[in-house]
């Protein structure tokens, strides 16, 4: 079980250029250069650590508390064409080793994003990835098209966990045909690399993953939140106004790792792994299972420096293991021993 490890300086000041403590401090001795670079379809990241969508706003949230320039990229808050009011409160619930949220994709809409949020992001030296949403396939395509030719945006992450109004609010992401259709529409409309984010609320994630790969996605994000619910037994009311919401945090990590592993064996496109990552060790589970990059979400609420600690720890691990390239560990899970043992048993 990951233990909490506070990772900040005592009064680090704004936007510390030096890495936070807690992650391993970079050694001063010369050591072989580490190649942490990641190629996700057409998107190049300088290292594999991203922030997960919806947990760092439009990139303005933690910029004064951690140095975003050290990260591989920022996956921004889910955005629709139009501004969204979001769900009524209560919107969040604390659960064992996790939390529920039903923010309802409250957001400023694409025009306000481009006008008010993007300019500041252009000054960062990190990949900027916008999480896009729609209620119909056409909305997705229109939003993707609007983002063509926009400087400072490096990729789109398509959130297919949002409700499809055309089919009674069922998520796009649970139906392989709808998932593929959205993917194709966005890929057709967009000039940017298209990452599609899968929902874990399905019987077989590989079926959806393959549909999305066939639809032309450059990469996959795995996983979004698990649908869940919590009840206040005193009032006998749901703790979320929207009744159900999404479970995230360490509680779901074992499910996320399993889904990344399954998906990695089912598709050829790269995967961004996420779900409960709090430490480098957690992130390494995803990389070893087959993710080419990772995103840190809920953990940042507990510790804003969590993404940096994850990055520092991955570097330290590679050095310890005498490796020079991140890709040497991607998908390096050793299962042969166990498989053969199992067969022997039968």
């Amino acid at each position: 079980m990951s233990q909490h490890d506070a990772t900040t300086d005592r009064a680090p000041g704004r936007a510390p250029a030096a890495p936070a403590k807690g992650g391993s401090a970079p050694s001063l001795e010369p050591s072989p250069a580490l190649d942490l670079g990641v190629q996700l379809g057409g998107l190049r990241l300088k290292n594999p650590v991203l922030t997960a969508s919806g947990t760092c706003g439009y990139g303005e949230v933690y910029g004064d508390l951690i140095d975003y320039n050290r990260l591989g990229g920022l996956m921004l808050k889910g955005t629709y064409l139009e501004p969204k009011l979001g769900n009524p409160p209560p919107r969040i619930v604390e659960t064992p080793a996790g939390m529920l949220n039903s923010i309802g994709l409250q957001g400023v809409g694409v025009e306000a994003f481009l006008r008010d949020k993007l300019p500041a992001l252009r000054r960062l030296d990190t990949a900027i990835i916008l999480n896009i949403n729609g209620s119909t396939v056409d909305e997705f395509a229109e939003l993707a098209a609007r983002l063509n030719g926009v400087a400072g945006l490096h990729a789109l992450e398509v959130n297919i966990s949002c409700p499809n109004v055309k089919v009674g609010g069922m998520e796009f992401g649970v139906d392989p045909r709808a998932a593929r259709e959205v993917t194709e529409a966005v890929c057709r409309a967009s000039e940017l690399p298209v990452i599609v984010k899968l929902t874990p609320n399905v019987t077989d994630i590989t079926v959806i993953a393959r549909a999305v790969e066939d639809g032309g996605a450059a990469a996959l994000s795995v996983i979004n939140t698990l649908r869940a619910m919590s009840i206040d037994v005193r009032t006998r009311r749901p703790k979320l106004a929207s009744i159900t919401g999404g479970l995230s945090g360490p509680a779901i990590r074992p499910v996320a790792v399993r889904m990344v592993w399954e998906t990695a064996r089912a598709v050829r496109i790269p995967i961004i792994g996420m779900g409960g990552i709090t430490t480098a060790e957690d992130a390494l589970e995803f990389l070893i299972a087959g993710a080419g990059a990772v995103a840190v979400g809920t953990a940042s609420f507990h510790n804003p420096s969590a993404p940096l600690a994850v990055l520092d720890g991955i570097e330290a691990y590679l050095r310890e293991q005498g490796m020079t390239r991140l890709r040497d560990i991607v998908g390096s899970l050793e299962t042969a021993l166990y498989r053969s043992t199992k067969m022997e048993e039968k």
Binding site: T8, P89, P90, I92, E94, N101, A241, H302
Partner: protein, 268 residues
């Protein structure tokens, strides 16, 4: 309502610090006060702002816990908390010289009306804590503090200087029997209160009642609101309250809002 009530946006300076505990004392009842040495935070904080404290042991509780600042002194800030659950129970175990990890100062803080008089502060339960500091800022002005709770044991009787204090308890076990709003109504009914301004912090039903009274008497009113918080810094959009028809974030756009801009009829 006057424009001076519009609250400024995100605060200019926030820090993630590990601060040494320089004092930690019981205040009676469930309350304890903690003083932390945090020079930069102390330099920038203002009354009504809060800090978001890591109270966990091995990730339990999973979220940080928000506490209003109750004072500043030199390089130190202080807050007063009630021990009510896992987070505050862990916090109560911290000893002198140990370090506490927190984010702050967060939120906007109160803005005292430049000319109103008297200034009426209304604190329900631990909601009174920011007023200990706000009182210092109001030094020299006429201030009334109305502090209420369910019963005597939940009152914080740290008798502040320079204010007329009135206590209320629901059960009459200390001070006046009744709600803070009964006392507030009486105060506002006095002709001397025509130029008053009201500042309130406490549970939402109390804030709502205070807001309606302020409107009834036509005096400006600011309320410091509470919502469950995950991140405390505007990252999760969890701490929403409806203000003028849109959801604003208590941690970033508040916790202090102009009372007449809050949509009080929303459930929460």
């Amino acid at each position: 309502m006057p424009g001076e009530l519009a609250m400024p946006a995100a605060p200019p300076q926030r820090y993630h610090v590990r601060a040494r505990v320089v004092a930690h004392e019981p205040l009676g009842g469930k309350y304890r006060r903690m003083v932390l040495e945090a020079p930069q935070v102390a330099a920038h904080a203002r009354p009504g702002q809060f800090i978001h404290v890591d109270c966990s042991q091995g990730w339990v509780p999973f979220w940080r816990r928000p506490f209003s600042l109750s004072g500043r002194s030199g390089d130190c800030i202080s807050f007063i908390y009630a021990v009510v659950g896992p987070g505050t129970r862990n916090l109560a175990k911290r000893r002198l010289a140990e370090e506490v990890d927190f984010l702050g100062p967060l939120g906007n803080g109160f803005h005292l009306h430049p000319t109103a008089s008297p200034l009426i502060f209304v604190g329900g339960g631990y909601g009174v804590t920011p007023f200990f500091w706000l009182l210092e800022q109001a030094a020299g002005r006429a201030v009334h503090l109305i502090h209420g709770a369910r019963s005597a044991s939940e009152l914080l009787r740290a008798a502040p200087n320079g204010a007329q204090v009135m206590y209320t308890t629901d059960d009459g076990s200390y001070g006046e029997r009744g709600l803070v709003t009964d006392a507030l109504r009486r105060r506002l009914s006095s002709p001397s209160a025509r130029q008053a301004a009201v500042y309130a912090c406490g549970p939402r039903p109390m804030l709502r009642a205070v807001a309606l009274l302020a409107r009834e008497f036509g005096v400006p009113c600011q309320v410091a609101m509470e919502e469950l918080m995950a991140c405390g810094v505007g990252g999760c959009f969890g701490c929403a309250v409806k203000v003028r028809g849109a959801y604003r974030l208590v941690c970033r756009d508040g916790p202090v809002f102009a009372a007449d801009e809050v949509d009080w009829d929303e459930p929460a």
